[in-house]
Amino acid sequence: MSMINYASREINCKIVYYGPGLGGKTTNLEYVYEKVAPSTRGKLISLATESERTLFFDFLPVDLGTIRGFKTRFHLYTVPGQVYYNASRKLILKGVDGVVFVADSSPNRLDANLESMDNLYQNLAEHDFDLRELPFVIQYNKRDLPDAVPVEQLSAALNPTGVPAFEAIGTRGVGVFDTLKAISKQVIKSLS
């Protein structure tokens, strides 16, 4: 639900990073914050617990600049991954324009990935969204784990419709911008 403000000539798009707890969603945003030109980004807001687990959300606005007279901006959000924060996740999905699912490649997180993906479908359905019609990409994070689940196996479990997917090592920034580029281009296309 992008809002185009013809009065202030602004287009704002909301991209939400979803996925199981400790999968690397916040790490994605932190890396983007560190690497994009300071003039193009706002403050990184983290509503986190003392142990740095996301409590409500992280938020990072990134300015694309003025494109053909319209100031174009992406609002990047993460949701808290822990199962019991579902009320918060639902709130953040309100008005979403594109979703990045950050999957954890660790073998003992396979169930958590599946549970989170199911939860994503359910929560979007409550907002009358269908993930199959929404800009959507998947990121297979933590590919540097020695026992990382093979991508083919993750793909079979999490990506039956074959949406664009990217391998990543969030802590080193590998794949972070490939993911962001892909989802933001999909969102732009959905507007045009």
């Binding site: 690497k35 709130l91 580029k181």
Partner: protein, 165 residues
């Protein structure tokens, strides 16, 4: 299509909102007013902006309102129509607008909450009326309004900005 534009805010809407917000500030003595979409996007603002990032402010205010709405539901209330945050120098009053937007008003210690509350209450029907008109209006697809080449130019900027190097 889902995920695409579902409403648009026009020049004339903006003039009406500006007039309403400026009148609200003048009558109440409040310093700053923002109109925020429920998804956290800033629609309009008026007054002497304190040193804050309005984009971030809008996002947090919408989240604040949404979280409180859920708290209201847990208490068996349909919603909390307004919220008040008391500070030592500045305070904040937030009110729901037609279920689609949030009006946030910051005011200094010298201004009484009651005054802000009354003036906001008076401004709400006009704002609600405007939003009902905005949402009732058929939405032209963005393609018909955005200049040709907007999407391809945006993609070039995405590649440049998100180079990651």
């Amino acid at each position: 299509m889902l995920g695409a534009l579902s409403w648009s805010f026009e020049e004339a809407d903006s003039h009406r909102v500006d007039t309403l917000l400026e009148a609200l500030l003048a009558e109440s003595g409040a310093s700053y007013a923002l109109l925020i979409d429920r998804t956290g996007q800033l629609i309009a603002s008026a007054g002497a902006a304190p040193a804050l990032d309005p984009t971030t402010f809008a996002s947090l205010a919408a989240a604040d309102f949404a979280a409180n709405e859920q708290l209201a539901a847990l208490l068996g209330e349909p919603n909390f129509a307004s919220l008040y945050h008391q500070g030592t120098r500045s305070s904040l009053y937030l009110a729901a607008v037609a279920g689609r937007a949030i009006l946030a008003v910051a005011f200094p210690r010298s201004v009484a909450l009651g005054m802000v509350r009354i003036r906001v209450k008076r401004a709400l029907p006009s704002l609600a009326q405007l939003f009902q008109e905005v949402f009732a209006r058929p939405v032209p697809h963005a393609q018909t309004r955005l200049a040709a080449g907007w999407a391809s130019e945006a993609e070039v900027e995405i590649d440049r900005l998100f180079d990651g190097e």
